[in-house]
Amino acid sequence: MRNSRVKVNGLFFVLISVFFYSGLSAEEPLIPNPEDTTKICIPRPPTNVLATDAVYDKGNVVNLNWVPSPDDNGDGKILQYQILRRLENDSVFALIDSVIAGTAFYKDETVESGQTYQYMVVAICDGGSGPSEPSPPVTPDMEWLNFALSNIFVIGLLICGSVIYFIGKAKSGRPLFIRKIAGLEAVDEAIGRATEMGRPILYVPGIQDMDDVQTIAGLTILGRVARVVADYDTKIKVPVSRSLVMTASRETLKAAYMAAGRPDAFNENMAQYITDEQFGYVAAVDGMIIRERPATTFFLGAFFAESLILAETGNSIGAIQIGGTANPAQLPFFVAACDFTLIGEELFAASAYLSGEPRQLGSLKGQDVGKALAMIAIVLGAITTTIGQAWNFEFISAIADLLNSLFRTN
């Protein structure tokens, strides 16, 4: 019984094999015709495949260079190069990526530090391939210091050093000249107006979370504003779009009211969470502006598309508006819709400016050293680039390149 079943199965297998074999042989011969050379393409392989560990990295990059196949001469014969990789102990190379013909470099950013790798580059043409010899093994390693960023380190040291120097100088009591910022000069007047009109103040610290430096700048200004508000016994509302900003705003308001000697006037609902959703938040704040008609509005922090919607709504009710952000694309909207605008760096300078404390003002003076550095680099760069290109002076061009690389981070 068992033997007969084996026989039947064997016969069935033979029949199926004959059927498929005959089907294949009808359309595609297994052995190609040696005279038909049009479809056969065996490219000469790339040579000198060299894998090197990238310097100053986390040990996650290997640079691969090779000499392209002699058949890669732009006539389209070589379609691409396939990059194959294996761990030193593995026997098989695996395909990791491919690059177009004419390329002789590949950056592998998928390696692990401490592992040893070998690479192969395969030239691919229509119907054939030419694999290179395996590259010498390479072991990517982590570096302790990124010397490629030494320019940033030196510039950072200069700027930070000058900020600390001027803070120290300010502490010694020497007077520092700080230019007047109209938007900040108007803060007291704007709060006074709200007090006289008996209407609230609306303070919006942007729509980003506490990990954005603009939000931190917005909250530091809130601390200064809230202290004056507490002194004047005016109402302030701080609608926020992030829970963490709500808790930080509450702490800021509470501390400001305590510092002003008015802890009784503090109410934790002054800072109210609305929603994380951008336009949901805008709808709620717009509603507040229309219903409660604040006399003064502050928009200080990180703003995006909602900047103009908020500022125009505030403008429509005739509020005094002070806006400020470090998003250059939103600044024109604040300039058009607000009475005063803190442009970029003024937002960050505002808290120090309002405090009037010498140490804080000293830090603003330190910034000027950075600006002077940038101005000198820009003017010298423009002059050397123009002279270097117009008269082809190599030395001058080298200076231009040096200046150009001074502020580069990669």
């Binding site: 600390i164 709500m246 994380d276 970029g344 960050f348």
Partner: protein, 217 residues
């Protein structure tokens, strides 16, 4: 202590972040990711604070029948609907075809788009005020804006072609020149100022000189 501990944490974290920028070696190369993860966890927990605050303020408004308390009912009802549906649908609540997705696609997105669409009208009203030629600066702005706008539409170049103007003074060329030279230079100047402002503010916070956000002087 209430102020000193946050200042200490801020100072240490600030210095560590500066150092990790220059050291690619472990564990410094992971600090950025770790701190980001910690921040995400704290922010995710803090969302409940926000949600509870929203409910508390709205419920209080309804209870005391304050002005416009009807809006607070809408807030609470919508909050409950979306939260209950989200939880009821479990892990895949954001998949296409769920009730949560339906609410997102057909309620939230149109409402959000409507608010965004208001921007067009506000741009018109703000432009009208900004471009009134009241003084030299405003006139300059008006002329520049006119040239940029006429250069961005095909009719500008079509008129120049009819008038047989040289190619170099076609509106599209002038528009590109204004955007690439004046606009880019201005934006870069602002960006340099912002970068320096961030450095200065960060230093003040790290060194503990800036304490306004902690209620200090």
């Amino acid at each position: 202590m209430r102020r000193e501990i946050p200042l200490l944490i801020t100072g240490i974290v600030g210095v560590v972040f500066v150092i990790q920028y220059f050291i690619p070696h472990y564990p410094f190369n992971q600090l950025n990711n770790w701190f980001s993860d910690w921040f995400s966890i704290i922010a995710a927990c803090a969302i409940w604070l926000g949600a509870l605050n929203l409910l508390k303020v709205s419920a209080n408004k309804i209870y005391r029948k304050r002005e416009d308390w009807g809006f607070s009912i809408v807030i609470i009802v919508c909050f409950l609907i979306i939260t209950i549906i989200g939880f009821a649908e479990g892990e895949g609540f954001r998949n296409i075809g769920t009730k949560f997705d339906w609410l997102y696609q057909y309620v939230y997105t149109p409402l959000s788009s409507t608010m965004f669409a208001l921007l067009a009208f506000f741009v018109a009203s703000a432009s009208y005020r900004a471009f009134r030629a009241r003084n030299f600066d405003a006139t300059l702005l008006l002329v520049a804006a006119f040239l940029v706008m006429i250069g961005r539409v095909p009719v500008g170049d079509a008129i120049a072609m009819k008038l047989h103007l040289p190619l170099s003074i076609y509106p599209s060329e002038i528009s590109s020149w204004i955007m690439n030279v004046f606009n880019t230079a201005g934006q870069r100047a602002i960006m340099i100022g912002i970068a320096l402002g961030i450095v200065s503010t960060s230093l003040r916070v790290i060194l503990g000189i800036e304490r306004a956000h902690l209620g200090g002087d």
